[in-house]
Symmetry: C2
Subunit: 404 residues, 2 copies
C-alpha cells in the first residue's frame, strides 16, 4: 500500500514507518520535527542518540534497500501544501500520529496548553478537510488514547471499543442506543483526543471518510526488529517527567540507580502496549479499514493492564531499585480498576507481546548503554495540573558510575 | 455586575450588551468585527443599516447616559492581551458570543470550514486558559446551540437540558449514569459547539471554572426595547442564504415579494427563540451561575418548536406570499419531531415571548423599510454540505417596487 505517515519521525511514528516499509509498503513520512524542537525547549534529549531524519532515511536505504520519502510540513498551518501532498501521492492509507502527545507537557504552562489544542485540533481538522478536498478514499488510522474513556467510569464493566450500548427512558418505554463512550479526559492532551473523536464522527457521516481511531494504552519498550540492526536507526527513548512513559521511566530509573518514581499510592491502573505491538496494530488497522459510510471504527490498542505500584514492585524485585512515593502532580483518582476490551485486534490476528523479563531487560540495557546522556534534573515530573500543587525535589543530582 | 461581552457587536451580542447596560450592568464589549468582515467577503450587508461600533456606543451614551467600553481583540490569536483585559477589568461575568455562528457558512468552502474550527475552538480555549491564568471567579455564559443534540435521537423523549440519564449493563447489574447528551452535530459550525462542551467539562473539572452553556434555538426578530429608540442603535438583520435565520428570512421574503424558500419538504422541526428573550436569558444565566466545582450548567435557551413548513404556511397566510420548495443544500433528515425541555429558564423566571402576529409584523415592517438594501442574488442558500449537491437558481432578479 502507499502509506502516508503523519508524525513519522516520533516515538511511535518512526518504528511504524520502518515496520511498514520493511513489510513492503510504500512509505512517505510527513513531519515538522516538532518533537525534536520541544526537546530543545525542555532542554532535554532522547536517552538514545536519535539521528536527524535525513540520516535515518539514508541508513534505512543502506540497511534494507528500501526508500522512504520525507516531507517537512506543519499540518496545523500548511493546509494548501497538505492537499497537494495527498493529491500527488494518492495514498491508500494515512496514519495520523501528528499530535502533541504528552499529558504532562499539555498541562505544563499556558503556552503548552494552547499549543496542544491549537496544534492537535487544527492538524486533525486540516487533515479531514484536505482528505475531502483531495478526493480519493484513503483509509485513515488515527492514534487516540485510552484516556478518552476516563478510568472506572462504568464501574465493573469492561471498557468497550469506542461505543457503548445504553438504555434510555422515553414516553414509549425504554429504548437502547449505541453511543460513543462518554468522554472523560484527564488532561488537555487527552481532551484533544476527545475533540478528534467528534470531528471524525462528523466527517465520516457527512463526507464518507473511512476512519479508524486507535485508543492506545501507554507504550513501553523502545526497539523493534527494524530499529536494532544499525544504531543510526535507533528509536527515541524519553525519560523526562513530561514525555517519559511510566514503565520505561521505571526501567531507566532502575538502570541508573534512581528510585522508581511512583505518584501517590501507585493505585492507578493503566493499560499498556509494547512498541512492537503498536507497529503491528497499525498495519492491521490500515489493512482492515471500515467501509465508506460507516461510523469511525474504534479499536482499543492495548494488550494488558497493570496497577502502577505492581509494576514498580516488579521492576524493584528484578533490579533491586528502591521505590519512592512522590506527590502526584496530576489530578486523578488515586486508585482505580481497569478492564479493557481488545477483542477486535485479537480477532484480526494480533498476538500480544506482554510484559516479560526479557523485554524489560532489553529496555534496561538500552538505558545502561546511554546513561551518560541522562540529565538527573529532568527526571522528576513537575508539570502540575493546577498552580501550587506540590512536586518533589530531585532525588539524585548525579548518576552513579558516570563522570559528568 | 461588571460584564465582559465577547462578540458584543454581533446579532445577539449587540442587543444583549444594550440590554445589560440598560439594566445597570457595567458592560465592556470585546469584538474583532469579524462578522462585518465576513459581510465584505460574502458581498452582502445587513438588511438594516447597522452603524460602526464607535457610533453605536456614542449613540447609546446619548440615548441612555450609560457608558460601554469597547476592545477590538481577536480571541483566537491575541491571548496575552485577553489575559490583560480580564486582569484589568476583573469581570464578574463573561458572556461568550464570539464564534462563527452560521452553519451554511461553515460548510461553504475549505477556507470557511477551517476558519470556523480554527476560530471557534481557539477562541473558546484561549478564553478558558486566560480565565485560569487571570484568576478570579467570573461566571462564564456561552452561547451553544440546540444543534449539539441532533434531531430525533432519543425517539419520543424530550431533549433534556444537557445531561441525560442512561442505564448501562455491568457484570454487577444495571447501573444508572448521568452523561452529557451524545453529540450529533449537523454541520462544522454545530460540531465546534460540541467541541466547546468537552472543553467546558474539562476546565470546570480541573480548574473549577463556573460555566453555563446555553443551547439556543434559532433566533428570530431583530429589534429590542433598547435598539428601537434611535436608528443608529438598530440591530443587524441577515437575510442571505448563509447567515439569515429561517423565520426572519421567510418574513423578509414575504415583505419584498420573494417566494418563501423551504428546503426539501419543510418537515424539519426546529426550536426557536425571539431576540427579546435571548437578551433576558443571558441576564438570567449570569445572575444564576453554577457553583465552583460543579459540572457546566446547561440550559436550553428556547421557547417553542415549529415545523418549518408550518411556519412558511403561517407567513404565507399572513402575507399572501408563495411557498417555493427548493432542493435542500444540507444533509439532514427531511422530517423530524422535536420536543425540548426548557424547565430551568422557566423556573428562573423567563416569561416566553412566543410567535405572534404582532412580532412577525414588526419584522416584516423592518424588512419593508429597508428593502432597497436587498441584493436578490444573495437570497438563495447555495452553501452545500457536499460537493455537487443541487441548489436553486435565483427566483427573482429585482425587488418589486424598488429602483435598483
Amino acid at each position: 500500500m502507499r502509506v502516508l505517515v503523519l508524525g513519522g519521525d516520533g516515538f511511535c511514528g518512526w518504528p511504524t514507518s520502518l515496520y511498514l516499509s520493511d513489510r513492503g509498503h510504500d512509505v512517505t513520512i510527513l513531519d515538522n520535527l516538532s518533537r525534536r524542537n520541544i526537546d530543545n525547549e525542555l532542554e532535554v534529549q532522547s536517552l538514545t542518540p536519535i539521528r536527524p531524519i535525513g540520516e535515518r532515511l539514508r541508513t534505512w536505504r543502506e540497511v534494507s534497500g528500501r526508500e522512504m520519502r520525507f516531507v517537512n510540513l506543519n499540518l496545523a498551518t500548511e493546509f494548501d501544501r497538505l492537499v497537494r501532498v495527498i493529491e500527488e501521492l494518492q495514498p491508500e492509507a494515512i496514519v495520523h500520529f501528528a499530535e502533541q502527545r504528552a499529558a504532562p507537557y499539555s498541562m505544563r504552562s499556558v503556552n503548552s496548553k494552547r499549543y496542544t489544542v491549537d496544534n492537535n485540533v487544527r492538524a486533525t481538522h486540516n487533515l479531514l478537510v484536505a482528505m475531502v478536498e483531495a478526493g480519493g478514499t484513503p483509509a485513515l488510522a488515527h492514534l487516540g488514547t485510552m484516556g478518552v474513556y476516563g478510568y472506572g467510569w462504568t464501574g465493573s464493566a469492561p471498557i468497550p471499543e469506542g461505543y457503548l450500548t445504553v438504555k434510555i427512558e422515553t414516553p414509549d418505554g425504554e429504548v437502547a442506543r449505541e453511543i460513543l463512550h462518554p468522554a472523560n479526559p484527564g488532561s488537555v492532551y487527552h481532551m484533544t483526543k476527545t475533540l478528534d473523536q467528534l470531528m471524525f464522527a462528523f466527517y465520516a457521516k457527512n463526507d464518507g471518510l473511512r476512519i479508524t481511531d486507535l485508543h492506545q494504552g501507554i507504550v513501553w519498550g523502545t526497539q523493534t526488529d527494524q530499529t536494532v540492526p544499525d544504531e543510526r536507526l535507533i528509536n527515541r527513548f524519553d525519560y523526562d517527567g513530561d514525555y517519559g512513559t511510566v514503565l520505561n521511566r521505571f526501567l531507566m530509573q532502575a538502570a541508573i540507580g534512581h528510585p522508581l518514581t511512583v505518584h501517590g499510592s501507585g493505585g492507578q491502573t493503566r493499560a499498556f502496549i509494547h512498541i512492537r505491538d503498536t507497529v503491528r496494530c497499525i498495519e492491521i488497522a490500515i489493512t482492515n479499514p471500515p467501509q465508506m459510510g460507516s461510523q469511525p471504527m474504534v479499536l482499543n490498542q492495548v494488550t494488558e493492564s497493570h496497577r502502577l505500584r505492581d509494576l514498580a514492585k516488579m521492576v524493584s524485585e528484578m533490579t533491586g531499585a528502591e521505590i519512592a512515593n512522590l506527590p502526584n502532580p496530576r489530578r486523578e483518582a488515586d486508585e482505580n480498576d481497569l478492564v479493557v476490551r481488545n477483542d477486535q485486534f485479537l480477532a484480526l490476528g494480533l498476538n500480544p507481546t506482554t510484559l516479560s523479563q526479557g523485554l524489560m531487560d532489553e529496555v534496561t540495557q538500552v538505558a545502561m548503554r546511554y546513561k551518560d546522556r541522562v540529565d538527573p534534573s529532568k527526571i522528576i515530573a513537575r508539570s502540575v495540573w493546577r498552580k501550587g500543587m506540590e512536586t518533589s525535589e530531585d532525588l539524585i543530582t548525579e548518576i552513579p558510575g558516570t563522570q559528568k
